[in-house]
Assembly symmetry: C3
Homo-oligomer: 466 residues x 3
């Protein structure tokens, strides 16, 4: 369904602002920032997003209990170097944010090479590349560097400085909400806690930001979607756990959700299903990818990966899957200095945005209709629906057969996506048929009872800027 | 299950009268009649059927509202010609009923070739063949002819005459009902509205008539089936819609149904499933075709085709499939003068009849049994059931293993068809096992509650001649 | 999951006594005994089993009604010969228990060769082999012999003697029960009614005896399984029917069952599913065989074969399958003198025992857990579960991913086997993960309500020796 042209159009059709939004440029802007699960890097990143999307910033104090966890101390990193005793700078955090292990405690002193070695992380088999390491709960320090750098360091002693702070502070996330006509909502979640990693972090942030730009533009045009759209820019794991803990009463409103990550590489799409496996989001992604030209694979749920594992943890089990191109841990650039802005392309990001938007469109448009008089095949001829249809030849238009499928399944028991799946045609064609039938008074939409939604539905009052 | 010999036997075993019924000859008799959705052609056709089957004729006045539709005006066609101005007859309805577009309004006058061209239908790529066209609701007129005929017509003007009437009258259908022991019934439906088209029309009418002959013969022998059999000879679409509208309260009695069409060509069987997809009729046809020698394919439901689309429209959603050989619109003779009596064969019609009868036999025989003492494997030896079985070697007889399957599944929860499906043996063998077990007092039939049937079940009182 | 090493360990891990139990030697001991569905051969066989396993012997008097059947008269066979009139012994029951048809009535006299021929069973196409024949309800007599023996017997007359008794007595079975913590139980059933047939009879008896030895040893060590284990050594068909009749009120306690037979040959495993098809036992066997190295096939239920057909008869429909290597009736040695102790091997018997034990372990261990705080992914780091896991490298240990799977599915709705099926890892690894999580207080076991068990659950009081 999503051929290249449509993908380009969809990418361009994300609203006035989004039409000018440079996905790859945004990634380049964010790339140098030293993000972690807490600290100024996250806040700086959210500040960039907030220039495009109305973002509410949440801070949760260190020590706050969140489900089984506690919010950790906040980490700030200002500088880190390894110098020869003669003063030559050999490894410098200022040159690459990956050089310091995340959550390194401050250190200052002269270490023997052997003592330093216990704190050095390299990839011996890929000597030119810096690995990415963290030790959030290790109360340790470490340097990550190219193995060839370490091999060249043959002095007996080195001067080591890490100017960091690990102290009570807060954990930060950003959230934007665009209300819909109904109380239900679609959740889009991107993690914002990886330092200079482009595909695994920035690509998801950029696509989610573009979705927000389009949603804001629609809002400014006075348009409303059926479902609300919630964008979450959140540190992985602990951030998502904190969000879940603080929004537990509202989770019933989530109709579908997508974790966005690794969307900028040149590989095929990979969609990891929700734990439920056949939720609306799973079927919508399968429909959109199945109807498109892009190579893709559908993966079963596993309890590792990104924040889908939090959303799909027991007791929550939300209908949230993960849309990727490269799969976490399976591409060689993963968690190394090679996952940089050369590894991601504008074309891949745009196609990812168009695909994501198409999925959201299907979810948002997946409503149920009922024949006005409840039974039988209506007479299309006297309503001019033969002619109306014959004249239309564009691919998006409903064909005669689309209209027959729609009317045959408009029994209050089949949603549009179910119709599209059964008829084997793109969702948009069933939508076009529905519009024709609705205009002719042949069908009415089946109302969704908000009673099935959580007691405290999310709404504009909670997000005054939205 | 249905090898050639059985097929021949089944075809011959349709009762005394049916044994002599010439399926192909009947088609030849009906072929020249100019049928349409209303008018004398339908009535004449039903008159031929009524010579073999007790038929109640129903007339519904033009303008009567039926569901979303209204019964149209009645169309009569007496003559139609295109002549040269010198008087030579170039196209004559008397030569072929396809020459006039169905529901052509009367016309009389001289037309330029260009003006006439707007009313001429040909198949330029198949120049020797007349197409079939209708314009039921178009209030237009038209001629269908071989393209080579049209190519030869090079005069500047022609004299055109269509002697037709389009005026208030009625829509006609014929219906026969053979009551069964229970209130449930099997519906067999054939359309009677196509003019000189043999496979797409007459083959279904002929097979349905043969079923009626067999049912009448059985009735005369004092035999009663479990389920009633309803034969419907009805104009497609509007006729079926009218029938549904006038029988809405009784539809609950329909346990299974088959639309019969295109059953005379030499191709493999095609069965289009009901909208429900796995209804009893769908499973019965799959079982009969799957056990036979004839090539066949099972097709999913689609909301086009024949009257199954009316029976399966929303709100009704009856368990009605469509049994065909050639599939509508997919064989080159479809809706042309090549769909004539040379296109259909006696052998194909007989095999179609035998297959249809076998399907009805499975549906009618699909009852549920319960072990008399409710549990355990009974002792067959002391009842002589080892010997009784060992002595029987004909293919229809229950083998020892058939009896074991039957007794193992005679738990009140598996019908005979479910047993046959699970055991992977023909239905008739499970039936034979059931007879042995019933005769030995090992099982009893589970009664079907008529409470699940519609409030006003169809019965003999409604059809005094049945 | 069950590689050769594990299989050997499992075979050796059947307790102190079982560690020394010689499966093949036990079969050799039992081989010469002339078993039938009643009589001293069954009792002698049960006596051998009782030397290893605490066995309660049940006797049911001839004529006792059991479901649809009656217990037959008891048959004793002491001697049987065919001699030449000159006194030469040509066929002698003392040489092979298969020589006499089961349930032969006594006979003594001189018969013409032709008259004798009506009572002689051979396999003409396999002239060196003695077939196995019975006539439990035939009140006839017969000799089974190698066809070449019969071919050599060319005298006009022979002296025939069968010294047997067919008279009121009783039917015998043996039963051992090892109570578990819960009222539910696992049933293991082996038939004990075939005379000198090794695979089809003795292999199942030997494996069941070894299971009993292991269970007794565990009991003596003070260990208790979750579920009780019931071992049944029972004459096929009538014995099982008698057992079902006398235990009808208790059958609700049976959580899973296995009929054991033909477990000594060198062929691949065959598991015949229960009538239910996807019962716990069916899934447990599929999991164990699917994870092992041994070739195997899963077969659908059919109402023939061994006593699974009684356990799975209508009204009972117990979750009982049949574990075999060679399939009844399908291997050439079946029911002939070639099914002897050379046909079965110690290695095959041990692998069969290990597989059976592994299946019982899965069934016994298939419990359900719930996250202590009901929701979310717990923090493993602060509980040392990262370290605890990293240090473990043996194949049985839970990997980090196993623990993630376990915790993700510990929602009270997924049993351990369901987790193993979904994660695609061996059951034992999920069990190891469960132990780690339970020790860390992260999960609690979901209690099984005994209310779902039959009113009169089986317990130690019914089997004082157990």
């Amino acid at each position: 369904m999503l051929d290249r042209e449509t993908a380009r159009e969809a990418a361009g059709d994300t609203g006035g602002a989004a039409g000018r939004f440079d996905l790859h440029g945004f990634c380049r802007t964010l790339y140098p920032i030293a993000r972690s699960i807490t600290g100024p890097g996250v806040r700086e990143t959210l500040g960039h997003v907030a220039r495009h999307v109305p973002l509410e910033i949440h801070e949760v104090a260190s020590g706050t209990p969140v489900l089984d966890w506690h919010v950790p101390e906040e980490w700030s990193i200002r500088a880190a170097t390894i110098r020869s005793l003669s003063g030559e700078v050999l490894v410098d955090f200022a040159a690459h944010s990956l050089h310091v292990m995340g959550y390194s405690v401050p250190v200052s002193g002269v270490f023997s090479r052997a003592a330093l070695a216990a704190h050095v992380h390299t990839l011996p088999e890929r000597p030119g590349i810096i690995p990415y390491r963290t030790g959030y709960y290790a109360r340790d320090w470490g340097f990550c560097m190219a193995h060839e750098t370490w091999e060249r360091m043959r002095d007996a002693e080195y001067r080591v400085e890490i100017d960091s702070t690990l102290a009570p502070g807060s954990l930060t996330w950003g959230e934007a909400f665009f209300p819909g006509e109904e109380a239900g909502e679609v959740l889009v979640s991107a993690h914002v806690c990886h330092p200079s990693l482009a595909n695994d972090n920035l690509s998801g942030i950029a696509v989610a930001t573009a979705l927000g730009i389009a949603a804001r533009a629609a809002q400014e045009r006075g348009e409303r979607r059926r479902l609300g759209l919630r964008l979450l820019f959140v540190p992985a794991t602990i951030g998502t756990i904190a969000w879940l803990a603080q929004n537990e009463a509202r989770l019933g409103a989530i109709r579908a959700g997508l974790v966005l990550t690794c969307l900028g590489d040149a590989g095929p799409f990979h969609y990891k299903r929700s734990r439920q496996g056949t939720a609306l989001v799973d079927r919508a992604v399968a429909h959109v990818l199945g109807g498109g030209e892009a190579a893709h694979a559908l993966l079963p749920f596993t309890p590792d990966g990104y924040d889908e594992r939090q959303y799909c943890s027991p007791g929550f089990d939300l209908p949230v899957g993960c849309l990727m191109r490269g799969v976490h841990g399976r591409f060689p650039e993963y968690h190394t200095s090679e996952d940089n802005c050369d590894f991601i392309t504008q074309g891949a990001l745009e196609q990812s945005l168009a695909t994501t938007q198409a999925v959201i469109d299907v979810i948002d448009g997946d409503v149920t209709f009922l024949r006005t008089d409840g039974r039988g095949e209506p007479q299309l001829g006297r309503r001019g629906l033969y002619r109306a249809i014959s004249g239309q030849t564009t691919s998006a238009a409903a064909s005669q057969m689309d209209l027959m499928w729609f009317l045959n399944l408009a029994d209050g028991a089949h949603s549009l996506l179910e119709m599209a799946e059964r008829a084997g045609v793109p969702f948009a064609r069933l939508q076009a048929a529905a519009r024709l039938a609705q205009a002719a008074g042949l069908v009415g939409r089946v109302a969704v009872s908000d009673a099935i939604i959580a007691d405290t539905p999310l709404g504009a009052k909670d997000f005054p800027h939205a």
